[in-house]
């Protein structure tokens, strides 16, 4: 059977118009479909974004917690290493409070007479001197910081071995005073260390660095200000020295000397 031939010439304009309309409808339909698809994609993206943000926050919190644990681990390792390499008898303590009255610089720690703490025992951190015990209770003690106005610590300049007293000036500074000679060679940047007198502090333990030098040649006076090596306002774990056991941390000065004279 043969297909019935179409009379193409008579119906072609209609077909043209019809196909144009079909084309237009098709394009509109495609556009609408695209828009709807875009809308659904955006909604899904928004939901996904919110979920990812929540997950991100959770991960950030976990990371922060892990970082904190890592820092604490490093700190505790440092404390352990410090405790192990020294012959001093140390009692680790935690700071639980500070002084209530302004311009008084003391700390309360969670160790007391029940733990072997006594008055005037030295308190240190791994970096340097913090102060000493002034009051002892059963399960807590009060530590007088070296920057307090009533604090006095015997010290020497590590470089020149000049002896003097470190007295607190409040906030974050101390004064180095009662030096025997008025023309001592002490400059900014010199390190002050404990003298080890009375065996309370170990000998040679860092106290602070000279931050200001004023020399009055007319009155033959010198004034030295010192900045503590330890950050006294950011302490977490500290040590009470139960026994210094004559620990000597002072580096020995190597001198070129002639043969010693024989005694008569």
């Amino acid at each position: 059977m043969e297909a019935k031939p179409k009379n193409d010439d008579s119906f072609s304009p209609l077909v043209e118009i019809g196909s144009s309309f079909q084309n237009a409808y098709s394009q509109i339909s495609t556009g609408v479909q695209g828009t709807v698809q875009l809308y659904f994609n955006l909604v899904n993206t928004r939901i996904e974004n919110r979920l990812l943000s929540q997950k991100n926050l959770k991960l950030k919190a976990e990371l922060s917690s892990l970082t904190e644990l890592k820092l604490e681990n490093e700190r505790l390792n440092q404390l352990l290493a410090f405790k192990q390499k020294t012959k001093m008898s140390l009692l680790p303590s935690k700071v639980i409070g500070t002084d209530l009255v302004p311009d008084h610089y003391t700390l309360t720690i969670n160790r007391g007479s029940d733990h072997g703490v006594e008055k005037n025992m030295a308190v240190i951190s791994t970096g340097g001197v913090i102060g000493y015990i002034t009051e002892v209770f059963d399960n807590s003690s009060r530590v007088l910081l070296l920057v307090d106005r009533y604090a006095v610590i015997d010290a020497i300049v590590q470089r020149t071995r000049t002896r003097g007293l470190v007295e607190g000036l409040g906030s974050n500074s101390c004064r180095f005073s009662y030096i025997a000679s008025t023309d001592e060679d002490i400059v900014e940047g010199d390190l002050l260390v404990t003298s080890g007198l009375n065996n309370i502090f170990p000998k040679g333990f860092p106290i602070g660095i000279i931050s200001k030098v004023e020399k009055n040649r007319v009155e033959l006076k010198q004034y030295f200000e010192m900045r503590p090596v330890t950050n006294l306002y950011n302490l977490e774990e500290i040590f009470v020295i139960l026994k210094s056991n004559s620990e000597d941390l002072l580096p020995k000065i190597i001198e070129n000397t002639d043969k010693p004279k024989e005694e008569a």
């Binding site: 209530l100 302004p102 003391t106 009060r142 009533y150």
Partner: protein, 179 residues
């Protein structure tokens, strides 16, 4: 008997509140704000009792505050007692000259005493032992005063609440502003 019970409870409430505020100030405040100056808690209590109580009751509270305060500070007890007596004397004189009822007056009185306390401490410390003479840290001084004034407003409401609940009969006298 009930009146005595109420009186004891009233005193105990303020003492307990002061104790809790002091522990917060020495522990939690430092945890959040490090070495930043805090409000002068004892000034809030002392000023309130000086303004709204009889003088003998204010003196009694002063002694109690001193005992508790000396447990939270290395300050010499005698020095603390002396300084607070000066503050009490000042606030009593201040009240006899200028007075109006309300929290703003309380805030003004608290601010003045918070400003005065370190100055008094600076001048009297030499009479109570050695140590280095130091001027108060200016920034901490101003911050402590401002914070004390800020906290005085909610403190006033709290103290009044305690007074209303436990010592109702005091209300009239307090509104008159003079006992």
């Amino acid at each position: 008997m009930k009146k005595l019970g109420n009186l004891s409870l009233h005193y105990f409430s303020f003492i307990a509140l002061f104790f809790i505020a002091s522990t917060f100030s020495t522990s939690l405040w430092v945890l959040f704000f490090n070495s930043a100056a805090g409000p002068l808690i004892w000034v809030l209590f002392l000023v309130y009792w000086a303004l709204y109580r009889r003088t003998r009751e204010a003196v009694l509270m002063l002694y109690i505050l001193c005992f508790i305060l000396s447990e939270f500070s290395s300050t010499d007890f005698q020095q603390l007692l002396f300084n607070l007596h000066i503050i009490l004397f000042f606030i009593t004189y201040f009240k006899s000259r200028i007075y109006w009822d309300g929290p703003l007056y309380y805030m003004l009185a608290t601010g003045t005493c918070a400003l005065l306390f370190p100055v008094v401490q600076m001048f009297t410390f030499k009479w109570f032992g050695g140590g280095t003479w130091l001027a108060p840290n200016f920034f901490n001084w101003i911050m402590g005063t401002l914070l004390s004034m800020l906290i005085s407003l909610p403190s006033y409401q709290l103290f009044r609440f305690i007074d209303r609940k436990i010592r109702d009969t005091r209300n009239e006298s307090m509104e008159q502003g003079y006992l």
